[in-house]
């Protein structure tokens, strides 16, 4: 049977399938549905220094082949995550997890990353400098090469585990930002976060989302994700975790051929809660079908 394991900065995953941050909570909701140990790992809900309620509702809207969300980083804060969520997760997940971190200042990013870096359950840190739904933080760090590099450098100073920077597609040139992160010491790149979008309620003649704008996800954005992974792969030497509208085992192979070492699945978890398990199950057969003996051979395969 085809080999499915991949390695992210020295951490070997049984397979490249990773539920994306914000669509999988802290894991245990899904552990009620299936044994989540079948996953490569997962990226937990974006965590900040302080607890956050997030934006007002409505936070969700339907779009063609996708959805908008403007949750705004609702989370219990890093101290509660360490005290309550991680021990609960340990009961149902024996693998290490990706700690997704967001912040509103360099100090906050460092504070949260440093604390999570010390947790034995954390395999790597995914620093989100691309949340489009918060103001005065989040994405504003990810829209210039200089600020992206600064966050990377500061977080690297206080951490020991691999640091992956999660990039925004809402920029003029994502390649420049990815390069700046690599030069500042990033161990890997995650991309893409959601695309900034908007929907208007015809009856109310007002934006449907309370936050006015939201992040577009779902299969509608998959081709954008493939293109950006392709471009960034050409420009950096560090591993890429590819994501953005991935919703089938075929999509996993496609984005890996564009250059991803591992793949996150986001919005699809919300409409089909078993999708990650089903993709993990389907993957070996699909690899056989395409004559792939080891999934690692296809990483960036479309460039060769």
């Amino acid at each position: 049977m085809a080999l499915t394991n991949v390695t992210l900065s020295g951490w070997t995953l049984d397979n490249p399938i990773i539920p994306a941050s914000g669509t999988f909570g802290y894991g245990y909701e899904f552990a009620e549905l299936y044994d989540i140990n079948c996953l490569g790992t997962f990226s937990f809900k974006g965590t900040t220094k302080d607890p956050r309620f997030g934006n007002e509702t409505p936070r969700i809207a339907e779009t063609p082949a996708g959805m908008l969300n403007a949750v705004g980083l609702q989370n219990p804060g890093v101290d509660n995550v360490i005290r309550e969520e991680l021990p609960k997760l340990k009961q149902c997940f024996s693998k290490k997890v990706i700690a997704n971190v967001s912040g509103f200042s360099l100090d906050e990013y460092c504070y949260t990353c440093e604390k999570l870096d010390r947790q034995e359950q954390v395999g790597l840190l995914e620093v989100n400098i691309s949340c489009p739904n918060v103001h005065g933080g989040g994405m504003s760090f990810g829209t210039s090469p200089e600020s992206a590099a600064e966050v990377t450098r500061e977080v690297k100073k206080v951490t020991t585990k691999p640091v992956y920077i999660k990039l925004s597609p809402n920029v003029t040139d994502i390649v420049q930002i990815a390069k700046a992160c690599q030069d500042a010491g990033a161990d890997g790149i995650s991309l893409i976060n959601t695309l900034l979008g908007m929907k208007i309620d015809l009856r109310k003649r007002k934006p449907l989302l309370a936050n006015t704008t939201g992040g577009l996800s779902g299969s509608a954005i998959f081709p954008v994700a493939v293109r950006m992974v392709w471009q960034v792969y050409q420009a950096v030497d560090i591993p890429i975790i590819g994501m953005g509208g991935v919703s089938s085992a075929e999509d996993v192979l496609e984005i890996m051929m564009a250059g991803a070492t591992a793949v996150q699945i986001g919005a699809a978890n919300l409409t089909d809660p078993y999708i990650c398990r089903d993709i993990v199950t389907k993957l070996p057969g699909l690899l056989d079908q395409y004559g792939i003996h080891d999934i690692k051979e296809i990483i960036g395969g479309a460039h060769r």
Partner: protein, 244 residues
């Protein structure tokens, strides 16, 4: 929660813009009145959450209003069509708190979940009174069904075209009750909250992403902390509601 396939047995219009669909499939995950299901509709990305009107072992009844693309597509479903449902979502009503003569107050599309609740309360030997509020006569549904369960039923219409003229709360004076269960549009819930003489349980609505607690799309603040309408709700205790 379960993910199950259901077969359409019947889908018919029962009032203005209001449809009743009967689906055959495994309802075993639906444990309480006031829970909901999340239906996958071909051509749409997000599922559509709809409250359970009634659930027997293998037969699920939903009543929905055509308010947008999803419900309009659902209205076109034909007998024999198949749907993928997530069932047994949300917390549902707690009948243990009802006392001997609970009051059930439903407004428009908020009426359906009260049907199974009424059935359950009567099975428990309680004597519910039901107030069903609609805008006008052509929107009314399920009055005979509630009566057939053995509940005393009062219908109100805003325009006075049927039953008592006014809002559901205008019928409160005629009733004596031990507890309130309600579901309906938020302005109605707020008015019920203000007029209620007893404690009660209120079922809320919100735009949802997943419907099972993963996305935090439908969070609300309560006096008992942040809750997800889809998971710790849709039913909130009167004492924990924080109006905004």
């Amino acid at each position: 929660m379960q993910q199950k396939q259901f077969l359409v047995k019947e889908n018919k219009k029962i009032a203005k813009n209001t449809y009743q669909i009967i689906l055959l499939g495994d309802c075993s995950a639906i444990k309480k009145s006031g829970q909901f299901v999340n239906i996958k509709i071909e051509g749409l990305f997000l599922r559509r959450p709809i409250s359970v009107c009634d659930a027997e072992e293998n037969r699920l009844t939903l009543i929905y209003k055509t308010v947008g693309k999803g419900t309009s597509l659902l209205a076109e479903a034909q007998p024999g069509d198949k749907f993928d449902l997530l069932t047994g979502l949300g917390n549902g009503y707690d009948t243990a708190k009802s006392g001997a003569s609970p009051l059930l107050v439903g407004g428009g599309a908020g009426v359906p979940p009260l049907y199974n609740l009424c059935k359950r309360l009567i099975a428990e030997g309680k004597k519910p009174t039901v107030i069903l509020g609609f805008n006008a006569k052509d929107e009314i549904f399920y009055e005979p069904e509630f009566s057939a369960l053995g509940a005393s039923v009062i219908v109100t219409t805003v325009d006075g075209s049927y039953g008592k003229k006014g809002f559901v709360t205008d019928a409160f004076a005629e009733t004596d009750y031990t507890y309130i269960y309600t579901c309906g549009p938020e302005p109605m819930l707020k008015s019920v909250y203000q007029k209620a003489k007893t404690s009660g349980q209120f079922s809320f609505e919100e735009r949802m992403g997943c419907g099972f607690g993963a996305c935090m799309g439908c969070s609300c603040k309560t006096l008992a902390g942040n809750k997800r309408i889809c998971k710790e709700g849709p039913v909130l205790e009167k004492e924990e509601i924080l109006w905004h």
